[in-house]
Assembly symmetry: D2
């Protein structure tokens, strides 16, 4: 049956990979609709993302490819279908709102399964869009107790990715380990500048002339995960830290949505602490 | 003998091109050091730039590739060697100066064969770098007479490209036709805004909040040739047109040098009125 | 009574203006909380925006200032209160959505009185936010008939500004003349490049390496009104025009919201075809 | 005698400062050609830079102003004349070259008194411009011994500012203390990210998507001095650290020259660890 898939390969680099892979496509009479590859020479790693279309069975294509790529290769043959996301928020609406509007417009290749918050500030907004909203207050609980409740809620959903759209709580090792390469965060600074709390206050204090935002996968090292997207805007001495916070919101939401778009379209490879974004 | 070449192919798109081309490389045991390809679906055109290394004869590689690519394909197998350029200027030194400094530092993959000017303002600067300087005054001449002298001078040089580094004269059809895809110009606006004379005055009058610069191949349509690179900087109401001109110089020189770098590294394909820059 | 106002003055430049104006503030023991001024020397025009606070009557302050500024001066003493806007849209939700989310978050210094559209595509979204939505279909009508209906609807609202958040219809002279300096539009190109219809198609065809968006006051010259804000993003040969359109949406919405923020905070002076933005 | 000066005032904020200062200008019939002021409310500090012209004696104007500004105020009345700079470099030519070209074009409001280097790599380039070049090799010396020689050389020059145009040595406390607010450095990262050695290697390792450069006053805290200007460029996974270094050079030179331009035009106030740039 006529179909279109994304073939995603990362493996140790070896001579003839492009030839061997494109031979599989050619022998099966597939169209290459889009093709990007990259070799990290320092690390000796090969990355390839190819969109192919034609008459074929996914399983068979996988088998054919598996035969000719290195034994340690990661191979995914992905049919482009809408993914599912769960969004975690606290009180600020800009990043969440940007995703909601894109979702409503059909511009987000994902269904929003649920929004989970530690405050109820955003409940009204979320309900406007007929999306399930869950509040898990952290009051009177240990961090672990709170997280357990959040994780239970998450695990009840179907999801491909967890999006931290300004979720202002630090995640424990346990949480992060439970969802490897599944958690995407927006940090409100140009990482690695201003790691940790109150980056706008830090930026204001340091007197920087540019502020930024960073979307990254969450790993157990706080604010140290692989960066997916970054952007910046100029500021000057006239901005107090709250003005920077306000100005920064536009960058935060755009960068998060951009990163989310890359991830939902399977355009991101993670290698060590870095990303390859095709 | 061990060598490294850039293989540049553009042709009508066809199934199996990547496979067939990579097979040639694989059969000859060549390393693919860098590979970029692009299919313009609207136009049905295929573009590929691959850096390969290994033991081979350039002529033989060309022959092999010619056999398997479409009959109308443009194929170039280019050994990465320093190219030669001739620079045309008028009075402003920033774009020329940027090239001279890069040249001196060994960061420009080109030798500057000559600088030709219609004024002697920049003679002193050029002579500081021991580079031949020729003044061809336009005074008392028709445009054609002046251009004929300039063209004679150009034709006496060995050159791959002619760089207009703020050459403030309009070229005739005859001049442009003589050097197809050989002339690179920096226009001091974000084209296609402010075509023609005095773009900064035009920009000031229009009250834009951003100004820019555009490096492009020169074709017989004034300021309408294929764009290679563009960049911009913010401006505001405080800048008079002369301030914009001053501020714009930084963008002009960076954009021209960036475009020149692309061209000298054979990273630019021209297709119709557009470029593909790998 | 303790209050805070924005004093907005534009007039022909004259010696001693700053002195005389600041004397009025000083004599009345007012605090200058923020002060910006600008002299356009070419035009001989003086612009000043000062935020003052203290115990005073607005009327009296106006009277005092009127005495000492030139007779042809424009003086406004504005109390910072939420303004009212009417939004016109067609089918695209990104610019409207951005305003709705800011409005919901209390970050927009305005109440949205109504959204008027020539299609019902966005009705559902607007109703989610409990904001009045009016559809005025243009089908089977002349341009004038349609506009008359829209104008009647607008005139029934209380409003300070009309925001064209991707309203894809050309306005007649009559419409524009009816609301001088009241209509703010987002044009989906870096004006003055790509005036008119389908700027992304134009941009794609021209092969630009940067696309942009422009927020401007609407005057009777199509896409020629005073520019309030502009921004850009890089593009490359990989983007088809529809990809440019998609990528451009982020710039469009941010630029419109930024411009709107300036206008709502009385930070914009219009002079001829230009703006001074403090 | 008709003259034009820059009046620079910073002091604790107080009511009536603008009034009192503008009164001095008005009473003496001076033209205000340009006026910028800023109040840092958090710190309670007032900053003002006014360009005035007319018939007056500088000394008298200073006296008049001194009478009406707070006793702790810093007042400077500066006649706009070319300043003098000494440039320190190591081996890279881009930042130095950019300054040399601007200097040659008459676009730098400064005379270059000398270039001092710890290597002779750039001697040839500097001599091309007929500017004194001094090499002070650090070989076989302690840091202190080397610095003493450099300081002796500096002190033999007339200079207003010392420009570190990619001077790759760490300065001692003694050196920095000797020239307070006189040393301007370009750091090859977007500070405070990647403080210290090899910022491009650090940036590459961290996998950032944007790199930048920072021009700042040098204080005894390494890379922690007041920031004057910053800018950035996008990068991606394709760039190895040496490519980042190469790409970063354009930002470095532009940012340094921009900062230098601000400083030479007396547009920068330093307050604590921050700058106000008018």
């Amino acid at each position: 049956m006529e179909k279109r898939v994304r073939v995603l390969i990362d493996c140790n680099d070896a001579k003839g990979l492009v030839y061997k892979i494109s031979k599989v496509f050619y022998d099966r009479d597939l169209n290459i609709e889009n093709n990007r590859e990259f070799v990290d020479k320092e690390q000796g790693k090969f990355f390839m993302r190819t969109v192919v279309s034609g008459n074929f069975e996914v399983k068979e294509l996988e088998n054919e490819l598996t035969k000719i790529i290195p034994i340690d290769a990661n191979l995914r043959v992905v049919e482009p279908k809408r993914k599912k996301i769960v969004i975690l928020v606290t009180k600020e609406s800009h990043a969440l709102g940007d995703i909601l509007i894109r979702h409503e417009a059909g511009e987000l290749d994902a269904d929003i399964e649920a929004v989970i918050a530690n405050h109820d500030t955003l409940e009204h907004l979320v309900r406007r869009f007929d999306i399930p909203f869950f509040k898990v207050s952290a009051e009177g609980m240990t961090r672990e107790e709170h997280e357990n409740q959040v994780m239970m809620l998450i695990d009840e959903q179907k999801f491909d990715y967890i999006v931290l759209a300004k979720y202002m709580r630090i995640l424990t090792f346990k949480f992060v380990e439970a969802y490897p390469q599944k958690i995407i965060n927006i940090h409100h600074s140009f990482l690695p500048a201003f790691i940790g709390a109150n980056p706008y206050k830090q930026a204001h204090k340091r007197g920087v002339k540019i502020i930024g935002a960073t979307a990254h996968y969450v790993t157990d090292d706080l604010d140290e995960g692989p960066i997916i997207a970054q952007d910046v805007i100029p500021v000057n001495h006239r901005l107090e830290w709250k003005d920077m916070q306000k100005a920064g919101r536009d960058v935060e939401k755009i960068v998060l949505s951009r990163a989310l778009n890359y991830v939902l379209n399977d355009r991101v490879f993670v290698h060590g602490n870095k990303t390859i974004v095709f």
